[in-house]
Symmetry: C2
Subunit: 200 residues, 2 copies
DNA sequence: GCCTCTAGTAAACAACTGTTGACTTCAAAA
DNA sequence: TTTTGAAGTCAACAGTTGTTTACTAGAGGC
């Protein structure tokens, strides 16, 4: 081997990059194993950096967890945009049925994790709130609308279903659900979305 | 006070009762906080008994967790019986919308908790499997039926939705969903069940 | 070249974890 | 009453946890 490595010059001592490595490793661990079952040494080892850097860059384990949540929230907002969601049940169903590796399901599982910290709870609640409102808007909901709570409730049932599906698929190897492809899942999910968000 | 207590003579040193106290306390803790975030000392304090008795009666923390799962599974089977579920979407919806304090939602949240132990995973999977099969039977599914996987998949989506709803209601204070009464929840859930399990 | 600021390291810390073994105490059998 | 076995207590254990502190080493400005 001549130089090894890829094209990138092996610039060491890159704080921003190290921070990113820690954040990515933490998101994976927290999503897969939960907050309490994950140790800071696990995360540091995955990232290939020293444990003490977690305290340096994120103040504490809880600080790192909050950073994971906001990072996830930001990426989710960036992907789906601020605009109302795609209007067709088909598109919504496809988003829920999408790959667990990234996309909505993956983020939802992380969003369901809890550290017991109040700050983290507020972040989580903020995203769930705004996402369910955008989902309700598909069915004709608007902030001050009459019968608003009913539409919002139905949107949140859709969101809960998405979360439950993501959880059952990744955490248990349940029946045909865990092995189902996106194409398998879209038809039933389209029915589900239509039944709950039909604007009639 | 003359005798205090109820009719039962205050028989102390009751192994069976102590075991029950530990099991009940553990179920509550594991359901609320998860496996890793719960310590054996928490459980023992809640039950008002000594920590060492956990090792004595359940061999280990994981043994206690498995006992919680099987206890929950047993109680669930006892409640819903072996017979096929109530056939009407209304009844199924009502079961999902029921109180989180006990009933199906409460057990589902515990069922979603994980200890990383293989034995526990098998117990969990067993119940989810059998329950989704009974749910699929409502829509006409039977063990060797054609297009069987599709019906089973739809039933598991219903189950996942129930789990997600229970989780969002108890772990986050989300919007109208967390405060919704059974009466609020039944209509949208009836629509959900009908859309997914209609046997046409 | 040297200096300095910061990224990264290593080791230790105190607190907490699940678990164990020797001990005490009660209640029923003899 | 004495004996005996099980129910419950106590204290300590070895390992792990998150965090901090003192330290080393590399990169850019002079």
């Amino acid at each position: 081997m001549t130089t090894g490595e890829t094209a990138t010059p092996p610039r060491r001592r890159d704080a921003a990059k190290t921070r990113r490595l820690l954040l990515d490793a933490a998101i994976q661990r927290f999503t897969r194993d939960g907050y309490a079952a994950t140790t800071v040494r696990d995360i540091a080892d995955d990232a290939g950096v020293n444990v003490a850097l977690i305290s340096r860059y994120f103040r504490s384990k809880e600080g790192l967890f909050e950073a994971c949540l906001t990072s996830s929230v930001d990426e989710l907002r960036r992907n789906t945009g601020e605009a109302p969601l795609s209007r067709t049940p088909e598109a919504i169903a496809r988003q829920i049925a999408g790959p667990c590796a990234d996309g909505l399901p993956y983020h939802l599982v992380l969003l369901l994790r809890s550290s017991g910290d109040e700050g983290a709870d507020r972040i989580r609640l903020g995203l769930l709130q705004s996402y369910s409102e955008r989902l309700a808007a598909v069915a004709g909901w608007s902030p001050g609308s009459p019968e608003g709570d009913d539409l919002l409730l139905r949107a949140q049932v859709v969101l809960a279903a998405a979360a439950g599906i993501a959880l059952l698929r990744t955490k248990t190897g349940l029946g045909p659900l865990a092995q189902a492809t996106e194409e398998d899942l879209v038809p039933p999910l389209r029915d589900l979305v239509e039944a709950l968000l039909k604007n009639d």
